[in-house]
Symmetry: C2
Subunit: 103 residues, 2 copies
């Protein structure tokens, strides 16, 4: 396999990945919800009640955010408690910060 010329910087790639994850109103809503209730347990069902989408669709959005590293789920059957992934959140915050407030 060839060593491919790199076109985008790591920052640009990551920036695009985090942005894409936040590129849907349901997923922005989820992040808002989790951040607002960072002290409590947040279950999928709590969010489902406020959203006009099928539970399976919500589950899909949750796993996209999880794959992007923005949230994590702690299994506690039959519930799953969701919360912010602090490392991912901090990285996204920093990336966005240097992107918008560049020197």
């Amino acid at each position: 396999m060839n060593v491919q010329e790199k076109v985008f910087t790591d920052q640009q790639e990551k920036m695009a990945r985090y942005s894409k994850a936040l590129g849907h109103p349901v997923r922005v809503f989820i992040m808002d919800f989790l951040l607002k209730n960072a002290d409590k347990c947040c279950y999928s069902g709590d969010m489902a009640e406020e959203l006009p989408i099928a539970r399976s669709t919500l589950s899909q959005h949750l796993s996209e955010l999880k794959a992007a590293g923005l949230i994590q789920g702690e299994i506690n059957p039959p519930y799953i408690k969701y919360c912010i992934n602090k490392a991912g959140w901090a990285e996204a915050k920093e990336l966005l910060d240097t992107f918008f407030y560049r020197k």
Copy 2:
């Protein structure tokens, strides 16, 4: 037509729209490029030289960023000089800011 219950706030909708626009490495690259060269004129061709994609594809990405309100193009045939749309950029910055640094 019914008055539909609003599910997402304006902020959430806008947040998702701006994020989606930045959800591709080529578009992040374009923003970086325009911000870095804010003083100069930036033509499509200048960016095309650094990107491994067809010019028509680049043009598509440019018009997505334009549709999202993040950039604008001043026609100066046969060139088109692109630059940041300051109003959109400021709004995106503010949205991201309150999203990440909420109180």
